[in-house]
Amino acid sequence: MNDQTQQLEAITQKEYKAGFYTDIESDSLPPGLNEDVVRQISKIKGEPEFMLEWRLKAYRHWLTMDTPEWAHVHYPEIDYQAVSYYSAPKKKTDGPKSLDEVDPELLRTYEKLGVPLDERARLAGVAVDAVFDSVSVSNTFKDKLAEQGILFMPISEAIHEHPELIKKYLGSVVPQKDNYYAALNSAVFTDGSFVYIPKGVRCPMELSTYFRINAANTGQFERTLIIADDDSYVSYLEGCTAPMRDENQLHAAVVELVAMDRAEIKYSTVQNWYPGDENGKGGIYNFVTKRAACRGVSSKVSWTQVETGSAITWKYPSVVLQGDNSIGEFYSVAVTNNMQQADTGTKMIHLGKNTSSTIISKGISAGRSSNAYRGLVRIGPNAENARNYTECDSLLMGDKCAAHTFPYIEVKNPTAQVEHEASTSKISEDQLFYCKQRGLDVEDAVSMIVNGFCKQVIRELPMEFAVEAQNLLGLSLEGSVG
């Protein structure tokens, strides 16, 4: 091993910054999954009957399904009976009325994470619906948003307060039976965010949720549903962090987005779940189903994701382009280091006329990790003049990691235009030496080169997120370069 490699490996072995654990008593269900557990979750949440039926339908179907094995990831079989499906911080009488009533220990957790939950939030213009394990503890700005008719609340509340919207939209993009993890999530999801933007309203601030898995051995199954009605706009930020633990934790979320006529949804994720240690011990299994429906004409959905964490990522934020002239975008940076595995990408399903989609995927692999892009572009028979542009670039750091690209293209309309470009490169000795000869240290040089590589994606992020993402890249990307 040469000096440079050693130096780089030292940089790589940085401690996971968000690896602390909050000591709060929690109400948890004992591990295990059966119909009673599903009923109990529904009961704890005080859900109406239709919701319980919905969950049970999902659960019964889940029992008939098999774990998907097509992804390019390897892990020991998950024992779903060893997982606890509900964990909530212990309630004080009626639950917090304001931040003063929120457990200070909990607030400190958010503070360490840098979540702007209090006054800082107002200054930053961020409304946070914070999900701590499975229950939303605080929901800021709700009133201010309500003035414009915007609904932003925990989905468990929406089930009570807006059952008509839940009945209409929940599962309308990702049906209960969609896939193994989506079915599991539909059966046992405990909380998540709900957003409804009324017709003609432009949401005045970035909406943000921070997810955090805290208790050991709890799966976190959030469910997010965002509906943008005609001529509306919303930008939604999702940030994730999990504490450090030896065992693997399961995270199987479902996110559904619905964009009506001329509506636009921008959904940005910075995912920094605990990736496990350098030998692959611990870390989050991140098996997530994210899908958007561009249901209306000229609607638009953009997914932007920076994925640096998790032991395993299995995630394909997709767009179904139903409305004519609708637009789907996917911008992704996926970083794997040490023993991390990622199989991520997108699906763009073109159904309407003149629909267009753009896919920009940047995969960075370091250490002994494996990073796969998997994408599907499907042009339906009625999708006249559909267009897609796909660019997949992989950057390898060192010689023990792997990058894979699995693009699938299905075209059933002859007027379609589909372009695919792919590249694989390495951070070269020449680039590093050039930067060092200009006085930069290795750490800054690597960070700069990698940020340059990801620029097309980073610039799609809202400003405050972009800075966080760049820092994260700096922390997790500096890997062994050979």
Binding site: F433, Y434, R438, G439, L440, D441, N451, G452
Partner: protein
């Protein structure tokens, strides 16, 4: 004042000895040209002086401003004022030229105990330097060297030199790949940077660069040794008779003052 002293420098790459006892002294304010045929060790010399990996120094020493240069990391050498204008400037996609320039300048300033320049002061400074090499401002916002022509890349190197104000600048085949206009622009840029505190070592295969940047001394490098030293007239001799005659020439006894 002695800027650089190379004493009996031997270096290997992949077990093969490329530098076989180089001796050279460069004083502050002097411009030295090192000429030689392909394979003489010219690029190895510039790589060893700037600390590129992969070379094994088997003998000798290099003293830069009284310090053992070979003990320093490449970035430490750079921050102390050793600059290499690359023969093949490297492309860095997605990183804007201005970003690299600013990071480089601030790295040097930090080493010198100076404050980092803010965006406005930096822009003012870099604009004034760009005039030296007649570069358009759009180059600041393009990715480092990406899609630059050969001439643009070399001008970009001289821009960096102008900005970083090194004490020892090594120009590695700065004339290669340049048409006559670009060569003139680049040379004018370098000449404007000549002063009594700055030393320049020009590595070149051809004499024509020396018509534009006139050196104080010319050395002929052959098979890893300096086999002949003289003034600018030596370059002209070389141009006439080629390199073949120097091969058998004995190593000169002394060094130019």
């Amino acid at each position: 004042m002695k800027m650089l002293e190379i004493k009996n420098l031997h270096a290997k790459i992949d077990g093969k000895e490329i530098l076989r006892g180089i001796n050279l002294t460069v004083n502050a304010g002097e411009v030295h040209a090192i000429m030689g045929p392909n394979g003489a060790g010219k690029s190895t010399l510039s790589n060893v002086l700037t600390g590129r990996e992969g070379y094994e120094i088997t003998q000798g020493e290099v003293i830069y401003k009284g310090e053992n240069l070979l003990e320093l990391e490449p970035e430490e050498r750079a921050r102390r004022g050793v600059f290499l204008a690359f023969q093949y400037p490297v492309e860095i996609p997605g990183v804007s030229n201005i970003y690299l320039l600013k990071a480089a300048l601030n790295a040097v300033r930090k080493h010198q105990g100076l404050e980092e320049l803010d965006a406005i002061d930096f822009l003012t400074l870099v604009r004034s330097k760009m005039q030296l090499v007649k570069m358009d401002e759009q180059f600041l916002h393009r990715s480092v060297n990406e899609g630059f022509s050969g001439g643009e890349k070399k001008r970009n190197e001289i821009l960096q030199m102008a900005l970083l104000e090194p004490e020892l600048a090594i120009l590695d085949e700065t004339d290669s790949g340049l048409d006559i206009d670009a060569l003139r622009t680049v040379s004018e840029g370098v000449n404007a940077l000549r002063n009594s505190d700055r030393s320049i070592v020009m590595i070149t295969h051809y004499q024509r660069l020396l018509d534009y940047i006139v050196p104080d001394y010319v050395h002929v490098l052959s098979e890893g040794r300096i086999v002949k030293s003289g003034d600018k007239e030596l370059a002209k001799e070389l141009e006439k008779s080629g390199y073949s005659w120097v091969h058998d020439a004995p190593e000169p006894e002394g060094q130019p003052a």
